[in-house]
Amino acid sequence: MTTTVPDLRPVEVCAPRLLAGWFATGAAADHAAHVARYGPVPVAAFRHRAGRAALIETVARAGLRGRGGGGFPTARKLAAVAAARGRPVVVANGCEGDPASLKDRALLEIAPHLVLDGMVLAATAVGAREAVLCLAEGGLQVARIAAALAERSGTDPVRVRVTEVPHRYVASEESALARFLTRGDARPAMTPPRPSQRGVHGRPTLVDNVETLAHLALIARYGDEWYRGCGTAGAPGTTLVTIGGAVWHPGVYEIEHGTSLASVLDEAGGPAAPARAVLVGGLGGAWLGTPFADVAFTPEDLRAAGAVGGGVAALVVLPRRACGLAETARVLRYLAAESARQCGPCMFGLPAIADDMTKLAVGGGGPAVLERLRQRLDVVRGRGACAHPDGATAVASSALRVFADDVEGHVAGAPCGSAGLRTWLPLPGVGT
């Protein structure tokens, strides 16, 4: 193998990896600091057909999976784009539309050059000459990345540019980004064809989350064995995770895959009040009830524990005194408002589901509302062009399961014990 670059200093074997520079210096890494830590981007090692194949093979052996919420094997996407007809485009997704997640923004601010290295390497792997970094419109990261690009000007073999994408929860869905970059319309498109086959201007398009690309930048340098030297066999490496809700120090942390949820929450100072449940996977994820402390933080273990939706690495702790149904109703109202309003079952179904959950939380709806809600969840699931309605039904279904006691109480007309208390989920524009 000639894919590992010999004269680079190894970074820490385990967490923090992506945030290693931040931990060492407390400062965002400029290009000089980045190169001093990791060495230059090793594109020369992956030139030509054999080098490109070797890079994709290394990523495959590393077992890297997408960190935007889908969890798709990155090497398979790379290989599909590399094999498709036409000159590919690389799109780095840094939009981070889910309000429960801040990790992409943190990464872009702290280690922008890891993301840019990853874009250049991914473009090299698929044979693209152009890469676009999509950022939330008006975000602080836009200026940060512009400065980072200026620092590297002329040194990369790939043209990298930044595009600001208007905020919308579903705008960072990969077909929505491809459509936005083609036609200026940031709404999901009907797939197939997937962007990997026909994306931006009809060209094969690799859409990868910015954290995924940052991991790729380290795998290209230190190899798949190094990457797998931490984490679990099924979920190697580390992951950034946003921890919020009732914890002492909400924020973005880097953890080793397989860490127990109790230890993950300890990174954030631990629960600030006895926990009732934790929302896993962002707003379209799922609630896990107690006891969740021993559940290992890997996509498989979380799914087995009931977080069936997958989703982005985010945890929101709900304290015992909060009402899970009221919080879920707020989430559903937010998701309903964020529908792209293209598909009927999403456009009409999500507000109806949100309304049912709100009635359930407020009380007084009786068993008929619960029955109607269950039916609507079944009807709406899987009927959008994108996974937006599926996320909403997943979080609603998990609430009915995890907060079954509250459901029973509310249906029976018991007053909500947490009415009038503060809310816990960060939802722009949604009241109590």
Partner: protein
């Protein structure tokens, strides 16, 4: 040789006209908002003509036939 096909709807194109449910009541039912719910099963032999007629009649061209052996 006949290929097995399934009936699909492009949810971004559908505007709930409901002709599909009108023409294929045994294959398509409508949800409470008037949008079609179609099972994943392949169209049975002998129904291809009816199904194709419904596909042609869809005012927004949202109703499609997809070969079952194609991916996704």
């Amino acid at each position: 040789m006949t290929r097995s096909v399934t009936l699909r709807v492009d949810p971004t194109a559908c505007r709930a006209h409901g002709l599909c449910a009108e023409m294929l009541p045994d294959l398509v039912r409508l949800d409470e908002w008037g949008y079609p719910i179609i099972g994943p099963e392949a169209v049975v032999a002998g129904r291809e003509r009816d199904v194709r007629a419904a596909v042609r009649a869809c005012p927004t061209l949202a109703l499609r036939l997809r070969r079952s052996d194609s991916s996704c």
